[in-house]
Structure formats: C-alpha cells, structure tokens
C-alpha cells in the first residue's frame, strides 16, 4: 500500500516515470487487413496445432492426438498415426518428422517407411510437456512451455504471470540439458537456415528471441510484438513466418496489473469465462465483453477489442514485420498457431476455427488498396 502510494506520488510529480502501459501499435507490416478471411479453407481438423512442409505439395499436420498428411494440390488429408497424448510441435530430421507429444515425449515418424520411432519418452519432467522441437544437424532441441502448467492449462500460466519454461537440448542418451530456463511460455522454436542459431518465441512476454548455438547467448529479436506469438518458421527466402493466436488487449493488461481482482477471478470463475486471451470466441452470453465490441446495426466493428485474433506475419530476421495476414474482430479464423510454405503456397493452422487455411503464397496474397 505504501509503495503504491509512493508510486502514485512519483508518477504525479514526474509523469514520465510511470510504467509504460502502451501497447505496440498495429502499423507497418501489421496494418490490419482481412486477408486470412480470403484464404481458402483446406480442411477442417479439430484442435490443429502445427504445420510442416514435407515437399512442394505435401505437409504434415498435428491436430489433436494425431499426425496427418495433407496434400495441397488435390486437397486431401490422411491420418498417419495416433498418439496417446496431444501432438504439438514438429520438425524435420532427415526423412523423419519429429513430433512432440504431451505426457509422452518425442517421437519420430519415418515418411517413407511409415514407421514410428521413439526418441525419448518420459511421463514426468520437461520431456512430458513439450511445445516445440527443432533439429540442427543431428542435434535436437526442445522447448518446455512451463514447469508448473500443462499444455492445456496455459490460461492459468499466463494469468499467474509465470515464466518457468525452458529451452533444452536432448542428448543421445535421453537426458535433457537446460540451455535457458525461466522463459515465459516458449511456444515456437526453429533453427535458422545457416544452422548457427535457434529462434524461439515467448508468448507471455511478447518476444521473439534468438539463441546462438556457438556462444550460448540469447538476444531478443523483438519484445514488442502486438500479440501473443505462437510458432515460428523460416521461409525459403530467409524471412520468418510468425503466427499469433491473440492480440494484446488493454483490458487483459489491466487485469494482469490488478492482483486482487485477478486472484479472485482465478479462484472463483471457470477458466472459459476469464478475462484472458483465447483461441476463439465461445459465443456464450457469459463470456467477458468490452464495450467497443457491441454489435451496432448488425455489425461488429473490425477494430473492436477482442480476446482472440488471427494473425500470421512475415518478419525479417531482425524482427521487422513485412506483411501480415489477419482475421479481425467479428471474424472466426482466430487463434492461428502455425504457418509454413508448401511449394509456393502458404499453409496456416487455425486452431480457433479448427481449420487448415491455404493462401496463395508468401507476399502475394496481401492485397493493397492502391
């Protein structure tokens, strides 16, 4: 109480000394558009998580407990294998696809032999709770989003302001070496094309960061992302495809500052009714609403504050957004978690709408009015 009073007095005397509560503006490459709504709906996949190109026309997809193979030419999807847990992140290792499975560990699916191989399994520890995996040569790196909360408990991890995730290297003997700990929900992980560094995202601190493999140092590429980043992948041109499943919201930030209210909300209210970013709107009349989201004359304004959003951005390796494909308030293609290039087309995993989306290609879909 005393410190809060002191803060108020300090802010009154020196207004510049107050905390920076601004949210990054949606300008430049983040200029709002409705491009995601114009994407082709490839197929419906419940709880779709990650997409990874296999060749110029096929991609593997994790959705729910299964690994799928989709063909973007003849629009077909085939279930390859089902796991005993939620399949999350993927990466290529030679002819194999590495798949992280919650509660289990890491598997590898051989694309030609169509055989499943166990890489490392554990029912406990970080290995049982993996969000993403990346292979550099024969080395395998994984991220564990949180030491306290499981994959589906992410709202609790965010609203408790936790940062207990980490980046690990999986050794051949099955042990995990901690490279970085104390990450705020690392969601995405990928290796740079030159194989010298890893790029990873931290959702709760709105950060895209780079980990240098040689020196073991980490640097923030950008920590003022306008939304909560999910997975990240490189394109052939060397740019980054970054998916964001929700935008930062003034009300959520406000609730994060209000400890008493947040504490009671966490204790007394079911998680689906929280003031918290989400993958999709539940359409329940009990969900939180912000005044700007009121429907007027049958329409919701696209710039209305919303707890969910769909955004895929193409970034330079320095973190500058070039273009982005968005689904705004009132649309349904929210909660985008992953995107990759398949041939010259863009494949997007839209978890909020349980859908795979197909865009024409990086940099081409974006429509400008002029």
């Amino acid at each position: 109480m005393a410190s809060r009073t002191f803060e108020l007095v300090k802010e009154f005397l020196r207004p510049d000394s107050g905390a920076d509560r601004s949210l990054p503006p949606m300008d430049g490459g983040y200029t709002p558009n409705d491009d995601l709504d114009r994407f082709e709906g490839l197929c419906s996949l419940v709880d779709v998580q990650d997409v990874l190109a296999v060749d110029h026309r096929r991609a593997v997809v994790t959705a729910g407990r299964a690994l799928w193979l989709v063909d973007v030419f003849d629009i077909s999807a085939k279930c390859l294998v089902e796991f005993d847990g939620q399949a999350t992140g993927m990466d290529r290792l030679g002819d194999e696809v590495l798949v992280a499975v919650t509660g289990q560990g890491l598997y590898a699916w051989h694309l030609r032999n169509e055989a499943l191989r166990e890489i490392a399994l554990s029912a406990r520890g970080p290995l049982s709770n993996l969000s993403a995996v990346a292979a550099v040569g024969s080395r395998i790196f994984v991220t564990c989003p949180s030491a306290e909360h499981g994959w589906v408990d992410w709202p609790r991890d965010l609203m408790n302001k936790r940062s207990s995730g980490g980046l690990f290297e999986l050794r051949d003997d099955g042990t995990m070496e901690t490279l970085i700990s104390g990450l705020a929900w690392p969601f995405g992980l990928c290796a740079s094309p030159d194989m010298l560094s890893l790029f990873y995202t931290e959702s709760w601190s709105h950060r895209l960061a780079r980990y240098d493999l040689a020196s073991g140092t980490r640097t923030a590429v950008t920590d003022r992302l306008p939304g909560y980043p999910a997975r990240v992948r490189f394109t052939r041109e060397g740019t980054l495809l970054l998916a964001m499943f929700a935008l930062r919201n003034q009300l959520v930030e406000f609730v994060l500052r209000r400890d008493r209210y947040r504490g009671r909300m966490l204790a007394e209210i079911p998680v689906e009714d929280w003031i918290c970013p989400s993958y999709r709107s539940t359409l329940s009349v009990r969900q939180p609403m912000q005044l700007g989201a009121a429907v007027h004359l049958g329409e919701i304004k696209p710039w209305a504050p919303a707890l969910s959003y769909g955004l895929v951005a193409e970034l330079t390796p320095q973190g500058v957004a070039l273009v982005s494909y968005q689904a705004r308030a009132g649309a349904t293609r929210h909660g985008v978690t992953s995107a990759c290039e398949v041939g010259d087309r863009l494949l997007v995993a839209c978890r909020g709408n349980d859908e795979l989306l197909l865009g024409r290609g990086v940099g081409e879909e974006h429509s400008h009015d002029q």
Binding site: Q250, M265, V285
Partner: protein, 712 residues
C-alpha cells in the same frame, strides 16, 4: 413522500454519502472559485484580530473602512477593465489627479462640495476616456498604453501639486458637508465605505445580470467570439476604461476628503495594490471571469493587511513584500485552478459502488428456463435500413407502429405489413420509451430532454423537463437527464423513470459502470401538469409497467438486475416490494402480455467477470481511469433475450436470437394482435414474431383491465 430505493442496493447506510463525490460536486460550483480568497480574508482578519490589541475597536474599523473604500473603488474599476480583457495601470495616477483637482477646487477656488465631487468624477472620466480612446479606437495595447498614461497623469498630478501646494497648505476652509463626509459615521462606518458597498452591489448586478455586463464578460472571455456575435467591441472597451476612470476619480475625491492635501506621492504604487486585490479576489487576468464581490474580498485582504501591519508598527517594506508574495501565489493558483479544474472534476466525478449480487444463474444449462434458442432469429424485419436504434416500439389503435431512433426521430410504420415508414416527428434527443395516451398522442421519454407528447399531426411538446429539486443535494437534480421508459395508468397519470440524475442521454454506460442509486421514478399528472418523484435513490430504473389491475407499477432496475412492485393503492400504497430478484441480465423494458403476464427484455446479460467487477469498486474505478471507453469491461450487450413472466413473478419462457445476427440486442418488446414486436437500442430494424398461443385473439392491444382503454 417518495419511497426510497437505496435499501435495494443492500449497502450499509453510510454508502449513501461519498466524500469524493461531494467534493467533485462542490468543485463544479461557480461559487467555489472564491473559496481561496474568502479563506485568506478570514485568516487575515483572525490573525490581526488576535495579535493586534484594539483591532476591532470602532475607530480602527471606521478607518479601515475608509481606506477600504478608496482602494476598493480602484479595485472595482480594475475588475471591470480586466473582466473585459484589458488592464488599467493608470488608476493610481488618475486617483492622484482627481485628488489634486478636488483639493485645489475645495481650498483654493472654494467651490461647493457637491460640484467638487462631480468634478473629481469628471476628471476620472476624462482620463479614462483618453485610455479608452487609445486602446479601443486606435487599437493600442492596453498594457503599454496605460503605462504611458500612468506617467502622463502622474505628471499632471505633479504639476497641480507644484503650482498649488503652497496655497493649499496655507488655506483653511471649514465646510459642514466636507467634514460630515470625512468624519460622520453611520453604523460605525463612514459614508465613503457605504458608497463603496452600494457600488459593489450595483456593479455586481450589472456584471452578472445585465446585457452590458454579459457583453463585457463575453468580450474578455473571447474577443473573436464576441465580435462574431455582433458586439460593438470598440464601444464596450471604451466604456470599461471610462468606468474605471470614474471610480478612480471618486476614490481620489475620498482621499482628498480624508487627508485634505495633495502630494506628489499620492496614489503612487496604487495600481499594484489594486491589481493585487483583484487577483486575490479571483478575477482572472486572462479576462472573462470575475465579479464585483470578488474585487471587494480581494481589496479587503489587502487593506486589512495594510492596516494590521501598520498597527503592529512593522516596516513599510514588509507590506510590499507580503503583497508581492501573495500576488505571485494567487497568480499561480488562478492559472492552475482554471486550467485543471475541469480535469480534476472529471477525474473524481465517478465513484463506482461495490455491489454484491446474488449467485449468477447459468443460462447455458440444459434445464434452464433461460437457455438460449433461436425463437426470435427469423423475426420479420420492419424498417430495415431505415432505423438506427429503435429502443422501444408501440402500436396505436389503428395498428400503426411507432418507434424511436438514435438520431432523435420517432418513426411511424403503417400499411398491412407495416412496410410504409416515415419520420413521424423529429423530437430530438435520444427517444427511448414510448406510450399512447387516451387521446392518441404518442408519449415519449427522450433521453437528455425529458417527457414529451407528440400529437397525431407529428408536433411535439414537452410534458415534463424538470421536477422539484431535492433538498440536501449539492448538484442540481431538477432537470430530467435520462428519462427512460413510461407507462400510463388508467387515470391518465404517466409513470416514468429517470435513470440518472448525473448522466445525460447517451452517457448511460457511465451509469451502468458507476452502479449507484442515482435514478428515480416520477409521476406526471396531466390534470395539474405537475411532476413528482415517487421513488428516489433508485438504481438505474428502466422499464416501467402498470400492472394488469392498475393498482401497482413494476419498476425494472438495470444495474441491480431486479424488478420491484410499487403499490399505487391498497394498504401498501407508496411502498415497494420485490417482484423478481437476481435476474441473469439487466432488465430493460417490461410490458403487459395478453395472458395476464408480462414480457421483459434484457439489455445486457451478466457475466461472471462483470459480477466480480461489480463487487470490486476499485477495479471499476481503475478501469475508468486507465482504459479507453471502448476497452471497458461491460456485461454482455450482444444479447437478445425476451422473457415471459407470469403475474405471480415466475419466469415462464425465454425467447432468444442466439445467432445475434439480426437482433444483436433487444431492449423492448410489445405484444399486439398476436404478434410480438421487438425493438433494440443498437439494431437497424424492428422485428416481429407471430406468437404461437391463441389466447390473444380477442383484444388487439394489451390494455389494463380496470378502466383500461386501448393502450399500447
């Protein structure tokens, strides 16, 4: 005696009062501007009264009054000029010239005293005219012009003094009237002080109550606006300097009368004293703000300080230093106060209340009577593309439909399928609740305006726009700010709600967030034309409905999520009893159904997080301060739920448009001839659905059984 709705909030009694709100309302009062000068005056009087023996004795009071008369007149003149946006630094010199003229005329030329008074004033007028001529007609800067004339008039005074001082010093004249003016006391004060008081009253009246005074204020507040409003600025400005000169002239006569000599230093530095007095009094240097009483208060401070220090035998420089300090202090206060006042009020005006609601029913549960459905999704649209926000709908005897519109219209739809829409009346404001009286007039509650009646030819006239002001309220609550819904009793009385005494028409969201008992329910009696409050301190009273038997009315409270019955007659007349409590949404309008029950629409549905925010007043306060309005947490406004209630208060069924596509919000419904008509504050249409039951085949509209005619 009006019933009190405060108890419904379930808050302890002391929550009726809020220090912060009281403070905010006090700051909004114009007379609060004089708080600082009055406090300072009290401090000065008390300090010298306690520290100087004999400060309050008759002789000292009379002398102080005399000096106050002289300085006060200068301050008055200065006030008029500053009010008009100018400044007059030459008052001290004019005072000196008039003093010299008066002394010389009295002693050397032996003129009669009344003529001398006149001549002193004329001297002031002439000097003031010189100022006015330069400033208003030749458009020179007031500051530099009066600085120049300060020196000019000063040299005239010196000239008079040098030429006549020898003869003045050696002449002695006795005149009864002269002595009388100087020495005789009336009720402990000399005549000069009484004249000052009279002039203060006159000037106060002129400044605050006459066209001339308003024009001067307008000119000082904004020259450009005043000129565009057609005011003769050159003449007005000239007149302010003439008034200032005349008052300085009179002041000069009084000092001649009191001291009886002319000296070169007479009135030297008096422009500084007058300026200090004016600024202490709260007359804004930027113009457009100030009155005569403020000048008097400021002059009082300056003079009492002078007299007190004199009696304490302090060094004369102490007085100058203290004046300088006070002047600087009050210049800063004047600047900061006027700049930040509105913002300060804005920051503390809203004081959200902590409200603990009953446990929220989960409407999504399978067996809930409220479970969302699509009963209203395919409602037939009326006025699609024409309407913007029909909050309420009503139908007249011929089956024509009337509804409001956010843009201030009342629409009429006629034809077999109500397809012919036209703007029936441009009443203005935010038309909300509607009703049809026995003479086929459309009665409408206009948010921001009051209760209006629209004749069949479309002409509107106000029935009630204000009511009697409540006692013990700082803020004026007589205007009807947010009239919301109405119903007409069998005896013709119109019962209507005024949702807020603090927020206007379109600001209802503030009322929703504050959630204090700021509203009231009123009754308009067409026989007498009187409007009286029947329920005070009601939290967001919204829908009003006279019960089927006409013996009670039902009152919806949108922020307490409940409906109460107010008895009009019977043993409980004048008291309230709960009808429905702990609803899952904020009830908007309520109307009679044909089967003896009621229809009720929800303007918003409760959400668990908003219920929690309702309990946590500091959360809502922080939200108001830190977030833009669009980002505020609200109950869910994208809902469209109408419920049917039986006469005993049991919820029978709920009708929804759960897609929220066509009717994103339903605020009102009206049953007529087997159809249910739906209005919504943010909708682009009125909808209607055919009701399935056959019970309404007989009566066309749902009237009141006892003495009820055909009413909407």
């Amino acid at each position: 005696m009006a019933a009190d709705g405060f108890a419904l909030t379930g808050s302890p009694w002391f929550r009726r009062f809020s220090v912060q709100r009281t403070f905010a309302e006090l700051l909004g009062k114009r007379w609060m501007d004089t708080l600082a000068p009055v406090t300072l005056l009290a401090i000065v009087i008390l300090y010298f009264g306690a520290s100087v023996p004999g400060f309050f004795n008759g002789a000292n009071i009379a002398t102080t009054g005399q000096i106050l008369a002289e300085d006060g007149l200068l301050a008055l003149g200065m006030t008029v000029v500053i009010l008009g946006g100018g400044i007059d630094l030459s008052v001290g010199s004019i005072y000196a010239v008039a003093n010299g003229v008066a002394v010389v005329l009295f002693k050397v030329y032996v003129w009669p005293v009344p003529v001398i008074i006149l001549m002193a004033i004329v001297t002031g007028v002439v000097c003031g005219s010189v100022n006015g001529l330069f400033i208003s007609h030749l458009k020179t800067r007031p500051f530099i012009t009066t600085l120049v004339t300060l020196l000019l008039f000063r040299s005239i005074a010196v000239f008079v003094d040098q030429n006549y001082s020898a003869r003045v010093g050696t002449t002695f004249r006795v005149d009864a009237l002269w002595d009388n003016l100087a020495n005789n006391q009336y009720g402990g004060f000399t005549l000069s002080f009484i004249i000052l008081l009279a002039l203060v009253i006159i000037l106060q009246f002129i400044i605050t109550r006459t066209r001339f005074g308003w024009q001067i204020t307008a000119m000082g507040a904004s020259r450009t606006s005043a000129r565009r409003a057609g005011m003769r600025l050159d003449r007005l400005g000239f007149e302010t300097y003439v008034i200032s000169g005349a008052l300085a002239g009179l002041s000069g006569f009084f000092v001649a009368n009191r001291v009886g000599s002319a000296s070169q230093s007479t009135g030297q530095g008096y422009e500084f004293i007058a300026l200090t007095a004016v600024i202490i009094g709260g007359v804004s240097l930027t113009g457009g703000k100030g009155t005569a009483t403020r000048a008097l208060i400021g002059a009082g401070v300056v003079v009492i300080l002078y007299q007190g220090l004199l009696l304490q035998n302090r060094d004369a420089n102490i007085y100058q230093i203290m004046l300088a300090v006070i002047l600087i202090l009050f210049t800063i206060i004047d600047l900061k106060y006027s700049k930040n006042l509105d913002r300060a009020i804005q920051k503390i005006f809203m004081v959200p209340a902590a409200i603990r609601l009953g446990e929220l029913i989960d409407v999504n549960e399978l067996d809930s009577v409220y479970r969302p459905n699509r009963a209203l999704t395919d409602a037939e649209p009326i006025g699609l593309g024409l309407l913007d926000g029909p909050e309420d709908v009503v139908l007249d005897r011929q089956g024509r439909l009337y509804c409001g519109d956010r843009r201030g219209y009342v629409w009429q739809f006629s034809g077999p399928n109500l397809e012919d829409g036209r703007i029936f009346s441009r009443v203005g404001g935010l038309p909300l609740g509607l009703g049809v009286d026995a003479h086929d007039n459309i009665i409408v509650c206009v948010g921001g305006m009051g209760l209006y009646s629209i004749a069949p030819d479309g002409s509107s006239h106000p029935l009630a726009t204000r009511t009697k002001r409540s006692k013990f309220r700082i803020r004026d609550d007589s205007p009807l700010r947010l009239t919301d819904d109405l119903d007409i009793a069998p005896d013709g009385k119109i019962y209507f709600s005024d949702a807020s005494t603090r927020f206007d028409g379109v600001e209802y969201m503030f009322e929703m967030i504050e959630a204090r008992p700021n509203g009231r329910v009123l009754c308009y009696d067409p026989a007498t034309g009187d409007t009286s409050t029947i329920v005070k301190n009601m939290s967001f009273p919204n829908g009003i409905c006279v019960a089927h038997d006409g013996r009670s009315i039902l009152i919806n409270s949108s922020s307490l999520y409940r409906v109460d019955r107010y008895w009009l007659e019977g043993p409980q007349a004048g008291s309230m009893e709960p009808f429905l409590e702990n609803l899952p949404g904020g009830p908007d309008n309520i109307n009679r159904a044909s089967d003896g029950g009621y229809w009720l629409a929800f303007a918003a549905m409760r959400s668990p997080v908003f219920d929690l925010a309702y309990e946590d007043a500091s959360f809502r306060l922080g939200m108001l301060k830190e977030l833009a309005q669009d980002e505020w947490l609200t109950p869910n406004l994208n809902t469209s739920c109408v419920i049917k209630i039986s006469e005993s208060g049991e919820v029978v069924e709920a009708l929804w448009d759960e897609t929220q596509r066509n009717h994103s919000l339903i605020t009102s419904m009206r049953e007529y001839d087997g159809w249910l008509y739906l209005g919504g504050l943010t909708n682009n249409r009125v909808g209607r659905v055919k009701l399935s039951s056959a019970s309404h085949a007989e009566s066309k509209s749902v009237g009141i059984v006892v003495g009820g005619g055909s009413r909407g």
